[in-house]
Amino acid sequence: MAGTATGVEPRAPANRLRNRLLTFGLLLPAGAWYLVMLVLPLVIILIYSFGVRARNGGYEPAFVFDNYARAISKADPFIESLQMSVMGTIGCLLVGLPLAYFLAMRAGRNKSTLLLLLVVPFWTSFLIRTYAWLIILGPNLGLAGQIESIFGVQDVQILGSSFAVLLGLVYGYLPLMVFPLYVTLERMDRTLIEASKDLGAGRWSTFRQVTLPITLPGLVTGSILVFIPMMGEYVIPELLGVGRTYLMGNALVTDFLEARNWPSGAARAVLLIIVMIVTVAGYLWFVNRGRRTRDVSVL
């Protein structure tokens, strides 16, 4: 034993060391990037959130909790953001799931073309696409103007409504929902659906008991991908909501730019991050629990 051990030993640590160095070296760029671009700014925001506004705006070091008290007492924009994001996520799901299903299962040889059509607008500036909706929903040639002329009614206003904002949110983030759904559906073993039908399940039961559980990882990823940016959305309420929908992103702009109160804005941002982490964690927990119980019931 001792002989073989000494025979191997001199090589193993060197190998392990080289492997470790290699792993370290390969992870270094990503690690450094995350540290400098994500962790450090978050730490700065956290520090700022306990400070006070300098006399002329900005940040002055201090250790107070006033900013948090103020942020909590002004929860309106946060609640409105939460409502909009939840509705937006559901909207993306309602539009995105059938679309992804069609692309993965039924599109046939048009699949690549259709996928490309979905991706191309996503490469265009988000702002320009949102501007386009100003014309689509607006008066005269737009939807509001068309409704007025067709039905002979007056003062139809779509821009500025929550509906317009919601439409903008769903439109803007839809691809982020479709792609993960598409990927999971694409990889799905189709014989499972046939098996389900052979065993006497109807369309709905097949969807509920076979397709949905398999799609779940994509559904979760997609929901999180659209929900998080929607919570911080600023441009869509500003343009399509004509400033009538006051969301968290707009409140942060007011804090940082108009009041020049960086600590107050930082405290709000920290709370937003915390609440989102909790929400997302809770969502993941709920979904996984659901899966587990279903797995058990299937067994």
Partner: protein, 409 residues
């Protein structure tokens, strides 16, 4: 995409100021300029030399050049500048005449003239607070100057190197934002007021009180406010007869009541598209700025603008040299150059904002000079109040936020 990219893009309305001027035609102006460029003394040939121009400069200039010129009331001899080969400017969009940039580059042999834009002072302020900006000159609005001076963002100016400062109307000199006149050179001024479309209203508002009644009445759902806290506060405070800079808790509370009362009647809060929104008839009134009149509303026949009788705010944009300016000599040269009467006159013809430089009025097209939306009447000038920096008033911020979340019901 960063916040600034977005904001920059947001400011690009459907009709640019340059586009408007191209349509309006610069023929008359170019003739004037052709007649007046060349020697500095030619400025005295201008038909309507402004009476208030530079009283102190007159005797010395006349004495110095008396043998050569009979009278040279406006232009002092330009000092020499060891100009670097670049100038990097941070400014509002479409705010400087391209022609003047070309002339400046040619005269001083600049290789590069960089013109970056911001769309509000807060973005400029945030940039400066973030550290070295790399810019030479910028044009903040005057109420931001004290904070910038105190934070050490601005360079102390040697006014003897900017002799054209003497051409500025005293109304805009040595005021609270720069009492010792050491940091800023006035650029353009304008007012916040009421824009309206007369055919969409039963009566045209002339005061904030009438504006208030219309918002709750016939113009309900058809009034838009610019998304600018301090401009929105002008309306309730002036209507109540208070200073628009008030931070008095009781006065602000009364203003709050009025704002919350009108909030559900508003179409929206928007500084980017409101001109267009009025042009297409969605809105019939706006609390806003005069710039839109020549842009989105230029083809709207029934447009109007009024400075409310209770008074309103004037804003004054100023030229400053930043503390860490990489090209200070070029910056000085620019500040003096831009206030040469013929150059400054062309600025007004280009950007349609009133110039505080009285000598330059001689070069401004008569139609522009006569437009009350651009140059307020002497009487209107009396009721104007300069905006102060009130961003540290928590009460104002709280009201502003409450108001924003109530807009549109």
């Amino acid at each position: 995409m960063t916040e600034r990219d977005i904001k920059d893009l947001l400011t690009q309305g459907p009709v640019s100021r340059r586009g408007f001027l191209a349509a309006a035609g610069l023929t008359g102006l170019s003739a004037t300029i052709a007649a007046c460029t060349g020697t500095g003394g030619a400025a005295s040939d201008a038909p309507t030399a402004a009476p208030t121009a530079a009283p102190t400069a007159v005797p010395t200039a006349a004495a110095a050049s008396g043998a050569v010129e009979s009278a040279a009331p406006t232009v002092a001899p330009a000092p020499s500048y060891a100009v670097e080969d670049e100038l990097i400017m941070y400014n509002w969009a479409e705010y400087i005449s391209d022609e003047n940039i070309k002339k400046f580059k040619a005269e001083y042999g600049l290789k590069k003239f960089q013109y970056d834009v911001f769309d509000n002072n807060d973005v400029l302020m945030a940039k400066l607070q973030g550290g070295a900006s790399g810019y030479d000159v910028a044009s903040p609005t005057m109420n931001y100057l004290p904070a910038m001076i105190e934070s050490g963002f601005l360079q102390k100016l040697d006014m003897s190197r900017i002799p054209n400062m003497e051409l500025i109307n005293p109304v805009f000199r040595k005021q609270w934002w720069d009492p010792t006149e050491e940091y800023a050179v006035p650029k353009d001024y304008g007012t916040t007021g009421i824009l309206y479309r007369s055919t969409l209203l039963p009566s045209v508002p002339t005061s904030w009180k009438e504006f208030y009644d219309l918002i709750k009445g016939e113009a309900s759902g058809k009034t838009i406010f610019v998304k600018s806290r301090d401009d929105v506060f002008i309306f309730p405070l002036k209507m109540l007869g208070y200073s628009l800079n008030s931070v008095d808790p009781n006065e602000l509370e009364q203003a709050r009541q009025i704002l919350l009362e009108v909030a559900p009647h508003l179409y929206g809060l928007d500084s980017n598209q409101y001109g267009q929104t009025m042009a297409d008839g969605t809105a019939s009134m706006a609390l806003g700025w005069t710039g839109e009149l020549g842009q989105s509303l230029k083809d709207t026949k029934d447009k109007g603008y009024v400075v409310p009788t209770e008074g309103t705010a004037f804003w004054l944009d100023t030229w400053v040299i930043l503390a860490d300016a990489p090209h200070p000599e070029a910056s000085y040269a620019w500040l003096n150059f831009i206030h040469r009467p013929e150059i400054q006159g062309e600025e007004t013809n280009f950007n349609l904002y009133a110039t505080p430089n009285d000598a330059a009025k001689a070069y401004v097209k008569p139609a522009i000079l006569a437009d009350p939306a651009i140059f307020p009447s002497e009487e209107a000038l009396k009721n104007l109040e300069g905006q102060e920096d009130t961003s540290d008033s928590t009460q104002r911020n709280d009201i502003w936020e409450e108001f924003q979340s109530k807009v549109g019901g």
